[in-house]
């Protein structure tokens, strides 16, 4: 009886160990900067971004999940900034203060590997999916709008830092987002520093 009791306790202990972390959720404030052509279009670092993700542990160190984000990027150019134009076969140039906007909405499925369990937990992963992008240029009294939905990939490294002994903590992540050329818009590259709350369940 005693052996059975100890065995049951061991099994429960093992089960509880394997189920100690079943999901990981995070809500983040995203600070984003464009790279390459995206940086040429908007060079400012955007402080306006939000991302939410959920991950499910398929074993102790590996998760699969989903990722949603919304980033807005904005820049106002100098008055003398020029754009080459062609209208009805006429070649020319337009200049004036441009107000440039990018709204980026990535929707990804992802997988992450956790390098350790418990305590400060670094991780790395990748997300794949698509991103809906809205681009707008306001110049003078005119507005030029384009949108597209392109293929996206997002490698990521990060760390979960628990606060005290709770399952809640700080999530820090560095993400690179690439979205392919689609419609009238060129490919997009951004790097994001995400700072937020993480919740292990």
């Amino acid at each position: 009886m005693k052996k059975l009791y100890i065995t049951i306790l061991l099994v429960i202990g093992l089960l509880s160990q394997s189920n100690a972390q079943s999901t990981y959720w995070s809500v983040n404030w995203d600070l984003t900067s464009g790279l390459g052509d995206t940086n040429d279009f908007i060079g400012n670092i955007s402080l306006r971004g939000l991302s939410v993700e959920g991950r499910y542990f398929i074993n102790e160190k590996l998760t699969v999940g989903g990722f949603l984000a919304w980033k807005t990027m904005y820049e106002e150019t100098d008055k003398d900034n020029e754009i080459d134009i062609e209208i009805d076969g006429n070649t020319g140039t337009i200049s004036g203060t441009q107000r440039r906007y990018l709204n980026i909405y990535p929707i990804l499925v992802n997988s992450h590997y956790y390098f350790k369990s418990g305590g400060v937990t670094p991780y790395a992963g990748i997300g794949i999916g698509g991103a809906y992008i809205e681009q707008q240029i306001d110049i003078g009294l005119r507005s030029i709008y384009s949108d597209s939905f392109g293929f996206s990939a997002q490698p990521e490294v990060g760390v979960f830092i628990p606060v005290g002994i709770s399952s809640t903590g700080i999530n820090l992540a560095l993400r690179y987002l690439y979205t392919s050329q689609a419609g009238e818009l060129n490919s997009l590259s951004t790097v994001t520093l995400a700072v937020g709350f993480g919740f292990l369940n």
Partner: protein, 219 residues
Amino acid sequence: MKKIFSLLFVTFFLFSCYPGGDVSVSDLDTVTTFYESSSFNPAPNSVIIYWNVSQILGDDGNDLPYDEEVDDEILNTTLNKLVALYGESNVYIYSSSETPSPAPSNPNVTIITPNDAVPNVDASLIPSIILRENTNVSIIYPPCLPDWWYWYCYPPYVDISSYSSGTVVLQLMDLRQGLDNPETAWTAYIKAVLSSQSSNSSRTVSGINQAFNQSPYLN
């Protein structure tokens, strides 16, 4: 609950600093130039400027009166840029009188009147202006708000806004195919929302300068 608070916090932060607030009237200025590449291969070497700003009128009654408020800025800024491009000896002023008004900023430029022989020039530059009262009409749908026991939706209303705009047009005509066969070589549209007289004047000058600066093929 923690997740909801976190979400609310970040969402509030996002909305609280969305860009696109104040826009000064000069931020709405645009300079657009078009050119015919064949007219600049080679570029003209001499030009005559018509010393008069004509007003282009529409037929819908939305034109504003023009009392030559920025004639000086249009004509003399353009003259200065032409002299810088082609040299004093290759720029002419075509005026209805021997004492043009406004007075040319460069006294060394030759003045041609209707009584003089037409010089053999490659191009002519014609300045003009368009002044318009623009009206936008749109229907605004206010949001619905919660009342004591039901949602109250304010009725939509019609919003009418208007603004005055001015466009200075500079048109360079290629005369090398003959005076009876001029071709438009270059056109500049300097468009702005009208403001105070001093603001309109300074923005006219900077707009004309920008039109020439963004057209390096002119000489």
